[in-house]
């Protein structure tokens, strides 16, 4: 992958300018690599000649760990991959395990799972919104985003006691039914949140400097996005309207009417704005599901304390906040999975960096890296 153009023919006889290449280690400890990602950058002045993302600094072996733990305990492990949107990790594991065990999930539990996942998507995209602002140099949007994110986390705390690693979605349903005032509080939050989205647009999305930094940078054409296997907002920003919630609906997404947000040219700004607009869609979904929420059990029947599913395999995938998150589970009939594999969207999206960074400026590295919204916990697992 040599990117340097061929040396100019000697006939020009221009004095050759001698430039020196410099190797910069960006990370694993760097303010804006969003975790412990290391980027080996070779630069000529401010221009990137070569970029090598290096992962593995947060590897905790949770796929292997799951092979010695019961299915209930694996749900706890899932919280730690993508710690920004733990609900979705819980959900995808539970879906795969339920398929293995052939458990039916009651309707209310499905509704609650959907609501929690969408709230978590809002929380996750808010975090992205805030940190992306910081990456580009605007500090204030971060605190605006966190103000609202705190409220979402408060809602989670009310329902399950945790603010980060929820472990709320369990095999066969959810941990607990909603406390009484929860629905009212959730609606209060949604009403508060809708005008805030407009505020975010005024503050950051259409800021000329922000547009200048992001709209021309890191464009990913449609075919390349598909070839690289991108998913989630990163893929949709390139104009491919693929969303698991629409194409293979799970939980209660069939009940909700929502749009798949699609961008135009896959620039950093499109990736950013897809997420901002997705938050509005999440609000729509939550409102619809909450309106038709019916009382009922929240735990399915037939979940053993020590589940030992029959030998077999199952795959489940959902639309997590980063993309198409899938779990492949193999059971040999024992109390723990024989093998669990995670299709981690962050890891696959990361592949974009190596080629698309070449030729950009040092400042653009951060713009591109921030816009693909990786969580290192999920990249390394």
């Amino acid at each position: 992958m040599t990117t340097n153009p061929a040396p100019a023919p000697a006939a020009t006889a221009a004095p050759e300018m001698k430039t020196d290449q410099m190797f910069i280690n960006m990370g694993p400890q760097h303010p804006s690599t969003h975790g412990v990602l290391r980027m080996g950058l070779t630069v000529e002045g401010e221009k990137i000649v070569r970029a090598e993302p290096d992962v593995g600094y947060l590897h905790r072996g949770s796929e292997k760990l799951s092979e010695v733990r019961g299915y209930h305990h694996c749900v706890v492990l899932t919280d730690r991959w993508d710690y920004i949107s733990s609900m979705m990790n819980n959900l995808v594991f539970c879906m795969a395990a339920e398929r293995l065990m052939k458990i039916e999930v009651p309707e209310r539990a499905d509704d609650l799972r959907t609501v929690m996942c969408e709230f978590n998507r809002i929380a996750s995209h808010l975090l992205f919104f805030g940190t992306y602002g910081i990456d580009i140099g605007a500090f204030t949007p971060f605190l605006y985003a966190f103000r609202e994110r705190e409220m979402v986390l408060d809602l989670f705390e009310m329902v399950c006691g945790a603010r980060m690693t929820f472990n709320y979605i369990r095999l066969g349903g959810v941990m607990k039914d909603l406390p009484d005032p929860w629905c009212g509080k959730a609606k209060e939050f949604l009403e508060h949140f809708k005008p805030r989205l407009k505020e975010y647009d005024d503050l950051l999305s259409f800021n000329p400097i922000f547009l200048d930094r992001t709209q021309t940078v890191g464009k990913v054409p449609k075919d390349q996005a598909v070839n690289w296997g991108l998913s989630g907002p990163n893929l949709r920003a390139s104009g491919v309207g693929y969303d698991v919630r629409k194409f293979a609906p799970y939980a209660s997404y069939r009940k909700a009417d929502f749009e798949v947000v699609v961008g135009k040219d896959g620039s950093c700004w499109d990736r950013y704005y897809c997420r901002v607009r997705e938050m509005a869609q999440s609000v729509r979904i939550i409102e619809q599901i909450l309106d038709q929420l019916k009382p009922g059990p929240v735990q399915g029947r037939g979940v053993a304390k020590v589940p030992k599913p029959p030998p077999g395999e199952a795959y489940a995938h959902i639309e997590s906040s980063r993309g198409d998150l899938g779990i492949y589970l193999v059971s040999d009939g024992g109390f723990s999975p024989y093998r669990m594999h995670v299709r981690a969207p962050s890891f696959i999206n990361l592949a974009l960096l190596q080629e698309s960074l070449v030729g950009l400026k040092v400042a653009d590295v951060i713009a591109v890296l921030g816009s693909i919204d990786i969580v290192l916990g999920e990249v390394d697992r």
Binding site: H72, I134, G137, A138, E157, N167, F189, N207
Partner: protein, 469 residues
């Protein structure tokens, strides 16, 4: 035997409680035989202990107080606060404090009057005293100069302290938080002082890869001009430490020296991020010097002097009796010059949106990545001193310096007006910082060379037109 038995009973009691709260990971292990390592006696005691803590008796975990308020935290939601902020006593108290401070400052200014009057009294008294003591005239003048230096130095040293605190409070309120609230009692006013003491007490670290002398000298070279540049600054009628005729030129020349310190810091730190930051700073500061200086030239053309007192006096008086004759109110020329000077000043002080030399998200901390403790605080001091200086210059060049905006407001002295205007511009600096994202380095250069500089040239022509009116 009975001893161990009792222990086992206790342990198994805990165990059964643990398994009642099944969600706690690591405590309940239904799949792994829990008693595998225990003695047979423990296994025997287990069934006897079970009834002691039946699972049904355990209370439900309570997560909220029944009205939706979390038990773990007393945090209020914005939806509870925003509809009626005046219902909160702290909000009302804050408003009273703010009104009191403003009233106090106005009262102080009104009662003190022009400081130069008092200073002249002190000068006459001191000179008479020294003359009676038969001190030579040269020494006496030298002593008076030393007093002026000490006063200005303290002003320059204290302004950053105040500005930092102010910035933290303003940014906090812009971001719906409180900022420092504890140190010193009143809204954390002593926070910067405490931070300064902390920085002074820190170990002086210099990296092994650094060029020791350059690393040491860089903060001094960067911070010293920040103090020196204040010599001809006009703080109010008669309040100028050195009333020299080339004041404007002197300020631009001296403050331009800071870039040397910054490049030295970038080069001498032995760090690639510092190097990039230092080189960026060199390019940026040298480029933005040009439109900054050129934007003032129309002002100097009209006044016909480089002396800041002359520039200030030129702007006294009113058109039609109520429009102040400030340069910002000169049609076309004044506004363009003001905007260019303000933008270029923000760039000169390395602040967002032009903070690419220390761009945190890209270059860690830019040229001062490898600095800590007192050396770092010198860079920090220089930055805020330049914010103060730039605000003071904007106030003097374009906002009429110490002239009151309306004739009847002249009951307040010139130094109060000067500091009010300086504070207003400094507020704009802080406001920009907490609103805008950061430019990219090449766009920053484009903006300077392709936009600001041509317009500042054009503006000289606009200013020249006024000479013929």
């Amino acid at each position: 035997m009975s001893e161990t038995n009792r222990e086992n009973v206790k342990n198994s009691g805990e165990d059964s409680q643990g398994s009642a709260q099944a969600p706690v990971p690591g405590v309940a292990k239904p799949s792994i035989p829990a008693a595998a390592h225990a003695k047979p006696a423990a296994a025997a005691a287990r069934p006897a202990a079970k009834p002691a803590a039946p699972a049904e008796v355990l209370p439900e975990p309570r997560l909220n107080n029944g009205r939706g308020r979390l038990l773990g935290s007393a945090r209020l939601w914005p939806t509870e606060v925003w509809p009626n902020p005046w219902a909160r006593p702290s909000f009302v108290r804050g408003a009273y404090w703010l009104a009191g401070i403003v009233a106090g400052v106005l009262l102080l200014g009104w009662s003190v009057g022009e400081i130069s009057v008092w200073a002249n009294l002190a000068y006459d008294w001191a000179m008479n005293l020294l003359r009676l003591r038969q001190v030579p005239e040269l020494w006496a003048q030298g002593a008076w100069s030393a007093v002026k230096v000490v006063v200005v130095f303290h002003l320059v040293a204290l302004a950053p302290l105040f500005l930092v605190w102010w910035e933290r409070k303003i940014s906090a309120h812009m971001q719906s938080r409180l900022g420092p609230m504890y140190v010193g009692g009143f809204h954390g006013w002593a926070q910067t002082i405490a931070d300064g003491i902390k920085l002074m007490l820190k170990e002086d670290v210099s990296p092994r890869a650094a060029d020791a002398w350059i690393h040491l000298l860089a903060p001094i070279v960067a911070a010293a001009p920040a103090v020196l540049a204040f010599a001809p600054v006009y703080f109010g009628s008669g309040l100028t430490a050195a009333d020299i005729d080339i004041g404007v030129l002197y300020i631009f020349a001296v403050s331009g020296m800071t870039v040397i310190g910054i490049v030295m810091a970038g080069w001498g730190s032995g760090n690639k991020f510092s190097l990039l930051g230092g080189l960026r700073a060199g390019a940026q500061l040298v480029s933005y010097e040009l439109p900054r200086t050129f934007s003032v030239i129309p002002v100097i053309l009209l006044v016909g002097s480089l002396n800041l007192t002359a520039i200030n006096d030129f702007q006294s008086g009113y058109w039609l009796g109520f429009i102040p004759r400030w340069f910002i109110f000169y049609p076309v020329m004044g506004q363009i010059a003001f905007v260019i000077f303000l933008i270029a000043s923000v760039a000169e002080t390395n602040r967002i949106p032009f903070d690419i030399p220390e761009a945190e998200s890209e270059l860690v901390a830019g040229f001062h990545t490898e600095y800590s403790g007192m050396k770092f605080s010198l860079f920090f001091f220089a930055e805020y001193a330049y914010v103060f200086l730039s605000s003071a210059l904007v106030a003097t060049f374009f906002l009429g310096g110490g002239n009151a905006p309306l004739p009847f407001l002249r009951i307040w002295p010139s130094w109060l007006w000067f500091f009010a205007k300086t504070g207003l511009i400094a507020f704009c600096f802080l406001w920009f910082r907490w609103t805008f994202p950061r430019f990219r380095v090449d766009r920053l250069m484009d903006f300077n060379w392709k936009f600001l500089l041509p317009w500042s040239f054009a503006n000289i022509a606009f200013g020249a037109v006024y000479l013929f009116l």
